[in-house]
Symmetry: C2
Subunit: 221 residues, 2 copies
């Protein structure tokens, strides 16, 4: 019974790592649809969010079933509760990728992102996608150093967002209000994806060391 139980717990972690990869792909495709005004790709990201939601629901059900049928203690309990949090964070990241694709769709055949911010968005997207992938390996390998890397990456994300604001609020901005509003909201979506990746990293630290970074048991997703 305990054997099966540990097998189920391991399988949940494997599914979480797989979902993290799926979410990283969604962020990658959403960004391509945005920068290339690729409508079919945007539509695909939006409709594929159902797949992420289904995986989220499946992991949640399995984690909940383990909680209900077994009486996990200590480390196992922490893993299951963290899995519930992580699948929630991954589902939200999938929603945010779909939000990005919806902006691409809304502005098609125009490109939502103007030339002046193209490099900034490319950097922001590359960084957030890499953070999602780092979160996956952090989780798989219980790698505390990786998790600390995510916190550093997040600072870089903050700088990218600050430089984005400098561009769109400068006197040189001549792209109008709509593109500025799009950019501000898109920037917020990427920033939130990064935040969720950092939170997954923090939960891995908690799982591995039993102590939360910065005194918080789990950062709020």
């Amino acid at each position: 019974m305990r054997e099966t139980y540990h097998g189920q717990l391991d399988a949940i972690v494997v599914s979480l790592v797989g979902l993290t990869e799926t979410v990283a792909d969604a962020v990658n495709r959403a960004t391509r649809s945005l920068l290339n005004a690729d409508l079919p790709l945007a539509e695909q990201v939006i409709s594929d969010d159902r797949i992420i939601d289904a995986a989220h629901d499946d992991i949640e059900q399995r984690a909940f079933a383990l909680l209900a049928r077994q009486s996990p203690v200590a480390g196992e309990l922490r893993t299951i509760v963290a899995a519930l949090r992580m699948t929630n964070a991954l589902g939200r990241m999938g929603d945010l990728a779909a939000h990005i694709a919806k902006v691409a769709r809304l502005r098609y055949p125009d490109t939502a992102v103007p030339d002046a911010l193209r490099e900034n968005f490319r950097a922001m997207a590359t960084l957030s996608e890499s953070m999602v992938r780092t979160a996956a390996t952090t989780l798989r390998d219980r790698n505390v150093e990786n998790a600390a890397q995510l916190a550093e990456d997040d600072e870089e994300m903050d700088e990218l967002r600050a430089s984005q604001f400098r561009v769109l609020l400068s006197d040189d901005w001549n792209e109008g209000v709509e593109k500025a509003v799009d950019a501000a909201l898109l920037g917020r979506y990427y920033e939130r994806i990064a935040d969720h990746a950092v939170n997954i990293g923090s939960r891995v630290i908690y799982l591995t060391t039993g102590s939360a970074p910065e005194g918080d048991m789990w950062p709020k997703a």
Copy 2:
């Protein structure tokens, strides 16, 4: 032992209801600081977010301790896991109220919200604050009708946000890029507060009926 256990579980729900009221107050004060360019009030909301975070951590620790020390089953287990989710949602709502106050602080002594959007923001703020308070009573009374009301309120919120976009993207907009960007992000914060209130409502439905609205076990926060 079970007596104490139920007492502890009830106490967690009482704390959650109390935290919901604290968060509703934070939203109310953040909105006043925003609309009146009230710097001391904005500072207070920002620094009081620590109180919300501390309450969040406390509820989380107590829920986790119950999970670890008892072996809750069925309804009790559902309540504890939902409490973990709810305290997370409430912590996020507190963060969002602080975000709103930070925009007020950033633009002081100017008012971040221009006259053309003042009524829209007042309506959005009143609605989201009322949704947070409804979430509190829904939770306290396990009132399924209340929870359904929250879903309706959320549609009204969507309409308010759509009308906000119509104003700030219209040809008549002469407030410039900065105020448009501020408004778009502020609108997003209020919308997310409302989303979290709806999620709390959905979880109450789940706790009360055992079946999730729309097939999802718990909506992602």
